[in-house]
Symmetry: D2
């Protein structure tokens, strides 16, 4: 069976460590084996990176950026391979993997502007003949731990910016679908990155803890669930490291009475069911304002939800694929059961879906649930499955209060044509990423990604302008030249002449 | 005896709590009593601030800035009173207090540019007809815990920027010299700040812990010693708060063979002994490169150090005042003892200083120690007293290695005329604030203050541009208007006409 | 009779020059006499400014900014005097003068952030060990020529930013109402500005031409009519000077079928008739979309327009005052005549207005004209009087085409509730300042003011961020220190030791 | 004979126009013929560009940037072809052409960050519930006129930034060496640029004047000699266009007594003689401080200058090539004659150089002239040939005064090790681009290029951050949503439901 190894000092390493199976979630089969890095391998990765750092940080930023220019080209040239790997291990449909990869590549594009982004601020004459300026210096060796749901995009949120800022990077990909992550890391060498600047170590909690406790790791970026995010953040900061840890979400859309229902419907379909709802920005709750809006929306959604196609990644006519694991499939079905038991109305039921030719796949069909209330477990927790729940509110104020009361504050959206409603919503809602008629308001790569409340631990958001701040340390220099001896030249006698 | 109370909802509160004495360190006398806020008072302060927040955050930034314009004027008009209060409780000489206050006021000046600083980034057409922009929204209620050594300046590093960003602020000043802090907080009301937006609670660890555990505090700024900074940072982040915690320092100057020794001497005097060395940016170690430079420097320094005047704050001919407490006086003398015992040479000895008319004052005289090595306790720890130690290095590389090996990385300086040496030093030295012939490279208010290594916990530095980031949360809005119904007007029939 | 003189080197100068009468436009009386600077006086002003420049440009930006902090306070403390002077010579009602002054003061507030605004960009390692940064250096002596309609605000658009950038400034105010301009210039001295840095020269075209041809004037800012703006721009650039020249306007509002008519009405009243329409941002044309909107708007406006009060500046119950001169009064009436003759419908006619107690004042009453077409002279030219014209369009596209076809492109506005319409309008309309339900979209002081097409000649807009660019010259420094002699210390033998 | 045509609407056009010979300056042979566009062809180019504009400006900036990502790759892939074309028509040595092209490509890299660069400023709550933001909108059709000395680089200073900002571009290349310019323009189509967005028209003054007078050209960028720059700037601004016109130069280096003479020598060789001195940043005057420095420099330079190789472009062992034309060759020799006649000392004389195998080439050999004074014609004018002149000054002040008195202020440099001297020089010298031990201080692509005094007409510098300002027009939107009807929902009844 093919093994998925580590990337150390420019080469893929298969050491003598334990392994763990990797599944194709559409078939339920084990298709590869993941190497589990022992502590020594992790330490080796860090020490190689540390050794590579001094030379890399001394490169002009534009030279580091040029690695990214070439890297962008290589990612584009190898789109197909990458999306195959994603599909095999994650299960998302090929067109969805292409979208993921494209969003990832956009972060590489942004990293290409490193020379612009790293400019410091220069102040002439902060005092008489005293100047002061700031520099954004790299941190050293930094690490990223990434989730299964975006094996290409989330790593690309992190390492391109970390690298162009002058850092060395250690990536620990998800155990579920590590092959795409490893593959894109390997392409960096071809793009001209010196060996040792980028490393990949495979594994689970032991790898994470070794990194968290390692003296030579300066910073951690994490994306995953909230409990783990809280753990990582606590442990990393306790060990004196900088950390940004992105956690779970429960993203609500408000559907206003004046919303264009056709548009809202088509937007919600993609946002709720795309990638089986396994996205931290998935739109999983629609809060309707007024029963008219609710009824119109349900009526418009029902047939369309029922006719969504679920299946394997390599058939582009599918709308979404299986869930990541058998456990997760059962958990999602459990949430639907609980909603039903709590009195909600399952309008479209995906629990019994069967996919031709894939009897053992981890599938759940698209599910639409009406009359959900905020006390239900299915409302309070993140389902991370193809389930759209409708909560009925009487007013916009009530709808906003519902959203603000939730523990998560990642993304949210309002459907309206009205400028005033949109402005009031975006100003006041306590959520970090807000869409106005945009159901998945993932900021573009030149803005930054981050939720509020339990959705993010740390001061700085992921990628974009905040990433430059996160991956560098401010140094401020204040300079005065006290003696005008050479300039005035009176008593000047220079030994070299 | 006069009591020093809390500031709650615009009024000074004297509740039924325990008290703690406040000393005049020049006389050793108790001159006031500090109220120690019980948990209820702290909670009351937070709840008042929380109630004041919604209205304050809705004010246009320029209106918040105008409070700061007036506040600057009031601080200037009341300079004398403020510096008296500082002198009485801290002991620093009046001219030094004036300098402290001026640096504090400069942060108020910077806060006056809030409307400029809070601008978000606007991107037209991130996709076809989709726009996206970022806003820097205030956090809510934030807190600051400030040290005895700058009872006016360090609070002014924090609350002016926190307030103009739209937050409410809870200040817990040092127990040693709280009166100046309270006084400047009271002036805000006269400047037009609404009641409840700024609160002061007096006390010690219990107050701190209550704040650290309080659900409604969103962020913490701290300046103090490294062990406390680490504690605050750990606890604050564990409770889901944003935190920046500034700790201790050991600031080295390199004196190069080509340095202008007269200039270096006069710079070092102020930087080492000003404010009795009780500054986190005090220059407490000079690393000479080559014995010629060492001998020249010692020779130039000795008489000047010996003739520095130590005494009470209200005599402007004094160069510096007493230490903050009897305990600290003994601790500083102990460091000098230990250096002597470890084999260093005490060139000028301030241990037996006596100040006419102040027999009980907490004084230590200016002390110069040569031949200090990096293994001595007096080198490894922060003395925070009027003690300048000389470490002799053979080369610039050795000097830089010494600095980089120290646990602290707050400030550092090089004395040279040579552009190349200065540039190499500022590029490579692992210290956050670097001076080139500037011995106290405290960044001006429009840059940011922060050390590296054990000198700062957190991602963002204090005051300046970083303060805006620290006191706000990024919100990113993505907007599309899907229906051109009104614009194209085809089927449009408007109820209001 | 009181004379209005020049300000040279810190003192008001009354030289032996010709004079010109200054009127009170409400009474028609001559109330002061303006000195007309001969060429020698202008030259003297420039040479004094040139001499003051080197020292002023060397001041730290924060010190220059502190003059502005104090200047803001002085302008506020002297509001009443300034608005009296404006009222006496310009005629605008006291409350309107207060508004003008406030907008002017906001530019002083912005200038207080000079230290932030003047930061250059610093790039470490543009090549190996080569750094590069930019500085925004002041130009030298710059001049401003300002119009009668804002004798305080428009000068304050210019000189505060010019001065804090390190320039010296020559102001030539309007001949009609120079007293307020002179008064505010004089206050600068009290604010701490060194003599010679700010000068005022009174006069007309000869003064302008002398300045335009003077070798030591580096830049010109002008606000006035388009023919003069074109002349100034041509001549200034021909003489190698930087120039920004703001000209005339014809600002249209589109009233959409879904607009809140009550709100549109009240907004239009102020925007069309405030300051008698003598504002370059006056909203003088409303383009209605659909006859329903037109009829509703006319119906809502008619009585309100008819009941507006016109009168003298010192009665705050008046809505607006006289026009600036007898000639201008006749010209405005002539435009109303021409519209009537061309077939438009004069709904409210202000031509025969009479003001109790002011029989000789230069008054025209509020005038509303319907059914104006784009071929009429009253449409094509700028009236600069209290006249609101209605153009009826059938669709939003037609309304936008009308606006885009006009020679001017200063300001414009749309009244709608619809997000899509607002976004389409602001994206595509070829006008520099756009309001969405904001009829006078004058940018705040921390943005910049500038129209498109014939409304502005030059690359950079007035005040705000563009002003810093306009009043400074970019200098880019690239630095490498080639020899590590001192640092490596091999053959080092330093003469000073 | 091969003809060099225009690029219109994506295709190369050979119309029925006159032609003009193109020479190989190494052989003196005519090698191609240039088409001279008649007025109709120019008008056609503009009208095609105008038609292409609306769609191009509506593209998201990131999509426009992606054309530049691909364009960078294509320029790199076709380096050899481009440098051959440059060498054939301009004569510069292949390695020098490679350098030129690389600097050009760096501007393409910068243009790739368009989405970052075009961000506007967003201000929430400029008033209560009023927001304001700025957009940088493209101008429309803009034109560039480029000089013979950098047929690839200077066009690349202009059109990449103009295009990514959303403009359409008309390039008129130099008549001497148009082929490389045309070739790189053609590559844009392959990179994905829509037809019509980029056009090239060949020709001379008639083409220029047609463009200058054309109503549909919004802006002009020009690089060339000062008399033409002044003409272009005057005419363009007179016709209401935005213009930046870069002219001549006379770039001085100060050699201080403490300079590293070996380093200064090797730097000066390249900076003075590279590309035969036909660079607007060529370092053509060295001002020595003190006779010791002068003598040491001359002594170090003489042999090295004498041994420089001049010859044809395709032999990489050559240091520089021929001048651009017979006329120019004679003119340069005339300057050397005049210096000699005026009393300067020709230390190395390149007038009689002969190049094996190229008897008719337009060569002048490397020439070094000592004891030049500021009154000589050879000092006052730009020679634009391989001639380095030495002016001897007694002090740094005198050296700086010499530089400041020159009509040009493009670039300058100081050779010193002393931080104070370097800082004083860069602060005070009245020149736009300053090198510290960097003899050709051409700013990198992410800074901007521009001289002072007669070296640049216009407010904004070329390429870099200023280019974004130059190629866009600021639009400021102010927005308020007055009615909360939809949000509060009281009387809401929406026809679509």
């Amino acid at each position: 069976m093919e093994k998925v190894g580590h990337l150390i000092n420019g080469d893929v390493l298969f050491d003598q460590s334990g392994t763990q199976p990797i599944y194709n979630p559409a078939t339920g089969d084990v298709i590869r084996e993941l190497m589990l890095a022992p502590r020594d391998t992790v330490n080796e990765a860090v020490s190689v990176a540390k050794a590579a750092f001094p030379q890399w940080r001394n490169q002009p930023a534009i030279k580091r950026a040029r690695v990214m220019f070439e890297y962008k080209r290589l990612l584009e040239a190898n789109r197909e391979t990458i999306c195959q790997l994603i599909g095999q291990e994650h299960g998302k449909i090929y067109h969805d993997a292409m979208g993921e990869l494209q969003r990832g590549i956009e972060n590489v594009e942004y990293a290409c502007s490193a020379a612009e982004l790293l400019k410091g601020e220069y102040s002439k004459n902060v005092g008489q003949s005293i100047d002061s300026w700031s520099e954004h210096q790299p941190l050293g060796v930094v690490a990223g731990i990434t989730p299964f749901n975006f094996p290409a995009m989330v790593p690309l949120w992190m390492f391109p910016m970390a690298l162009v800022c002058g850092n060395c990077f250690i990536l620990k990909p998800s155990e579920r679908d590590p092959s795409a992550s490893l593959y894109i890391a390997q392409l960096l060498k071809e793009a001209g990155l010196p060996d040792g600047v980028m490393q990949v170590v495979q594994g689970g909690k032991e790898v994470v803890d070794t990194l968290l406790e390692h003296d030579d790791i300066e910073a951690f970026s994490f994306v995953g669930s909230t409990p783990i995010a809280r753990y990582i953040y606590g442990k990393a900061t306790e060990h004196g490291k900088r950390c940004q840890a992105l956690g779970g979400a429960k993203n609500h859309a408000i559907v206003m009475p004046d919303a264009d229902i056709d548009n809202a419907t088509s937007q919600l379909l993609g946002a709720a069911f795309g990638s089986s709802g396994e996205r931290c920005m998935a739109l999983s709750v629609a809060v309707t304002v007024g029963d008219d809006a609710a009824d119109a929306l349900i009526s418009s959604l029902t047939d369309k939800v029922a006719s969504l196609n679920v299946g394997a990644f390599d058939d582009d006519s599918n709308d979404f694929g299986p869930l990541i694991s058998r456990e997760h499939q059962l958990k999602v079905k459990g949430y639907i059961d609980s909603a039903e038991n709590d009195g909600a109305e399952v309008v479209v039921d995906g629990r019994q879906v069967s996919v031709d030719g894939y009897p053992e796949g981890f599938f759940v069909g698209a599910t639409l649930i009406d009359k959900v209330t905020t006390t239900m477990q299915s409302y309070q927790e993140e389902i991370f499955g193809p389930v759209l729940q409708i909560v009925r509110a009487k007013s916009m104020d009530e709808a906003m209060a519902i959203i603000d009361a939730h523990q998560y504050g990642n993304g949210t959206c309002i459907f309206t044509r009205d400028g005033e409603a949109a402005r009031y919503f975006s100003d006041h809602i306590r959520v970090g990423m807000v869409g106005i008629n945009v159901p998945l308001p993932v900021p573009v790569a030149y803005h930054s990604f981050g939720g509020w409340k339990q959705s993010l631990f740390g001061d700085l958001h992921a990628y974009g302008p905040d990433a430059m701040k996160f991956y560098t340390r401010r140094k401020t220099i204040t300079q005065r030249w006290p003696s005008a001896g050479v300039r005035e030249g009176t008593s000047f006698s220079m030994p070299t002449l």
